[in-house]
């Protein structure tokens, strides 16, 4: 139990360190809509939707655009989700006193 918690915490710390160090060096989003003026006043969501439906499959190689977005363009968000999952599992194991 203690070992699992310790592992989770080390992974979390490693993730935080990795994000802090790597994000300072490399920009997160390489691909952005090329001509942002053409979409008029629709704003960022419209432009992103257009961009994903036009270039998403070719850029990510995934036919399922949902997967292309949550593991390709916004994989950072998924990293956060997995951290939440690991922490919640560790919390349940801790408070139920599992062995």
């Amino acid at each position: 139990m203690k070992r699992i918690l310790l592992l989770c915490l080390t992974c979390l710390l490693l993730a935080a360190l990795a994000v802090l160090v790597l994000d300072a060096v490399v920009p997160l989003f390489r691909s952005r809509p090329a001509n942002t003026e053409s979409a008029g006043n629709w704003g960022a969501p419209y432009q992103l939707r257009e961009y994903f439906s036009l270039h998403g499959v070719a850029e990510s190689g995934a036919l399922n655009l949902v997967a292309a977005i949550y593991l390709g363009y916004r994989a950072f968000d998924t990293l956060g989700e997995t951290i939440v999952l690991v922490i919640s599992v560790a919390g349940v194991l801790l408070f139920t006193g599992a062995r």
Partner: protein
């Protein structure tokens, strides 16, 4: 509580197919609706069925607590490793560094397939651990 023969038989026949369906959802996640989280939930639903029909102790003899928690932690570490490998290979943090392959086939879109596998294992193992700890008999 008395064991029901029907429940035991049906769950024993059903669990392998549920696990297979979960693996299908995970491995075809980049081609069709599904993916890591959904497939992992299906995997853990098979474990939940085993826990409810055969008891937690019997299930834990089949899938050891230690092994399941090792899968959980290893999958998370692999996710971080994949994320860092993108930077190491000069793409970006969590960037796709594998070849895309031919679009529409199962081994395509390099990175996304592996991340789906990793996330599916992690979600399945995590919810299985929660089932173990919440359903265990005193």
């Amino acid at each position: 509580m008395k064991e029901s023969k029907i429940v035991v038989l049906v769950s024993r026949k059903l669990v392998p197919y549920i696990l297979l369906f979960g693996l299908y959802l995970i491995s075809y996640g980049h081609l069709s609706p599904g993916g890591g989280f959904q497939g992992g939930a299906v995997l853990s639903s098979a474990m939940l069925l085993l826990c409810l029909s055969r008891g937690v102790a019997a299930t834990r003899r089949l899938f050891r607590y230690r092994a399941v928690s090792a899968v959980e932690i290893t999958a998370f570490a692999l996710f971080l490793a994949m994320a860092a490998a993108g930077t190491a290979l000069g793409v970006s943090f969590l960037g796709n560094f594998l070849p895309l392959g031919r679009i529409g086939e199962v081994p395509s879109s390099g990175f996304i397939l592996f991340l789906n596998l990793i996330i599916g294992l992690e979600v399945g193992a995590g919810i299985t651990l929660i089932c173990y700890s919440l359903l265990q008999e005193e």
